[in-house]
């Protein structure tokens, strides 16, 4: 499996990143080198192995369905790049 420059552009769009031409070239080369190394895993037959998603295999952890105060609005808005008294502000989403 080889990654092309176009693939890298597509992945970048999914990840909401933008690269110039030079960066596209270098990321394409690096991703190919790294993914090529990862092909190593195909030496192993894992057909009957269950995937492991967590090192300590917990059952579900439940808590009581009670309302608990977390951070207040002022704190939540404190680090916003743009805001008013109550809301985060972002560029206009819907155009009439």
């Amino acid at each position: 499996m080889s990654v092309t420059k176009r693939d890298v552009e597509y992945i970048a769009r999914l990840a909401r990143l933008r690269f110039n031409d030079e960066e596209l070239e270098s990321y394409t080369a690096e991703l190919n080198e790294i993914l090529n190394y990862m092909e190593k895993l195909n030496e192993l037959n894992t057909e009957t192995v269950e995937p492991l998603s967590h090192p300590i295999e917990n059952v579900n952890v439940f808590r009581d369905d009670k309302l608990i105060v977390s951070i207040d609005r002022a704190d939540a808005l404190k680090n916003a790049p743009s805001r008013d008294e109550e809301f985060f502000k972002v560029p206009k989403v819907i155009n009439k």
Partner: protein, 479 residues
């Protein structure tokens, strides 16, 4: 007045303060002076300006006998952990002006026991790196040779302890980020079992791998800090509800643990092998244990050579998902180039993230994308189970595993930064513990012919940190 280096651990320090031989304020002033003096090491992102005030309060408590277990211990915190109303940047431009809105549980527990928090330490951006060269605050230098890296990602934490800038530090370890810099800088560093310490307030990198643990100059202090920060936390559902031992180190009654030497670690088949001087240092320790009547057993962890590939598929996948929260909307950097929502996300992330973080987001997004999920991500999850089962089987035969921590000593600044794959491969001995979720510790075992520290790693089964610490203490006493 005694110099700050004249105590070996916290209980000695407390005795000196109680008997009036040192003053805590003086002690903290000395640390501040050392930080200023060794500024070129670049260990700190922030030093707190109220630290002397903290010291005065705690000193009074110590004299009245009402101080907590960590009263007067001066601790630095890796800048990926939140402390309310303090900056928290993850050494990234994207969080440059971020101020934490709550306090991480592990840090709160230190504060509750009267530790003094001196500042936030430099690290690789979002804890991604093995050399501390990927930081928006600049590289960190190794105090043993300033042309060399301190290791990463908790490089600043390791340096802050090794260079006497504080007593101890809290770092994080996702694939070796505590143990490897501890080895490169010649200090103790413990990565706890996954779930032993609450991750609440730790900025997520790879959630099924991330752990928080201490750096210190003595096993006693590592044990003391572990006794404070461990335990179930309702704010982290993956923290484990299991008894926290007192972490007492009485080694007289310690039965002779069976020690396993994984052959794949001392004779690695590929990827540059193992430095000869490190190998000899580890073999010397093994001989010492044999002379003291320990049963040493060669064991096999047959899937070791697949650890790096597995680790970098799974952690980049988790990272690409975790780092999607940096969107320029809620907090952190927002580019002023954008006038629509899509561009706001893209431009803010493009300008805000550094090169290595972008590389990992790209890799993670790729292995999770349609058509590649099964080939990479699911495959790696399966191999993760095989790697964990290697350890399960080995721990039926032995109590402790003894290995080198790193394949080389601290490398030169710039030596590996141009080749990401070579950098990743340097994590070969540390990533397996994170894949399996088991605890590991770095023990400094002397220096090589160039005066650079060599690290020995001990690993034990899940939640057996106490075994690690007692064995480490024993190893120290038979030197």
């Amino acid at each position: 007045m005694l110099k700050l280096t004249q105590y070996r651990n916290h209980s000695e320090k407390i005795e000196l303060i109680k008997s009036g031989k040192i003053s805590l304020r003086k002690n903290v002033e000395e640390f501040l002076h050392e930080i200023e003096d060794k500024k070129e090491l670049n260990a700190f992102n922030f030093v707190f300006d109220d630290v002397l005030l903290q010291a005065d309060k705690v000193e009074e408590k110590i004299k009245k006998g009402s101080a907590g277990k960590l009263g007067g211990m001066v601790i630095s915190i890796k800048d990926v952990l939140s402390i309310k109303s303090r900056p928290m940047t993850c050494s990234s431009k994207i969080l440059k002006n971020y101020e934490a809105v709550y306090t991480a549980t592990a840090v709160q527990k230190l504060l509750d026991e009267d530790a003094i928090i001196i500042g936030k330490t430099n690290c690789d951006e979002f804890a991604m790196g093995s050399s501390n060269e990927n930081s928006a605050f600049g590289i960190v230098r190794n105090p043993h040779d300033t042309e060399r890296v301190p290791g990463g990602s908790s490089g600043g934490s390791a340096v802050s302890v090794a260079a006497d800038l504080c007593d101890a530090s809290l770092g994080t370890d996702t694939g070796g980020s505590i143990r490897q810099p501890a080895a490169f800088c010649g200090v103790y560093g413990l990565k706890p079992t996954y779930g032993r310490v609450s991750r609440y307030g730790l900025t997520a990198f790879a959630s099924s791998f991330d752990t928080i643990g201490p750096f210190a100059k003595s096993i006693e202090d590592i044990a003391l800090i572990m006794s404070v920060i461990s335990g179930k936390d309702p704010k982290d559902s993956t923290s484990h509800d299991i008894e926290v031992p007192a972490f007492t180190l009485n080694v007289d009654n310690v039965e002779k643990y069976r020690v396993g030497i994984p052959k794949e670690y001392l004779n690695p088949s590929s990827e540059g092998g193992l430095d000869q001087e490190i190998k000899e240092a580890i073999e010397n320790q093994i001989d010492l244990l044999k002379e003291n009547g320990y049963e040493i057993k060669e064991i096999s962890l047959p899937h070791t050579e697949y650890a790096i590939a597995t680790y970098y598929i799974l952690t980049t996948a988790e990272a690409s998902s975790n780092l999607s929260r940096y969107d320029g909307a809620h907090y952190g950097y927002r580019s002023d180039k954008a006038n629509n929502l899509f561009d706001m996300y893209t431009e803010s992330r493009t300008e805000g993230f550094g090169k290595e973080v972008k590389r990992r987001i790209m890799l993670g997004t790729y292995v999770l994308s349609a058509g590649y999920y099964d080939a990479y991500y699911r495959k790696a999850q399966k191999v993760r189970r095989l790697l964990k089962e290697d350890f399960d089987k080995a721990f039926q035969q032995v109590d402790i595993m003894l290995t080198p921590t790193t394949p080389t000593v601290a490398f030169k600044i710039g030596e590996k930064s141009a080749d990401p794959l070579q950098m990743y491969l340097s994590d070969i001995f540390t990533t397996p513990a994170n894949l399996a979720g088991i605890p590991g510790i770095n023990i400094p075992v002397g220096k090589n012919s160039e005066g650079l520290p060599i690290g020995l790693q001990l690993m034990a089964n899940h939640f057996e940190e106490l075994k690690l610490l007692r064995f480490a203490k024993k190893l120290e006493t038979i030197q």
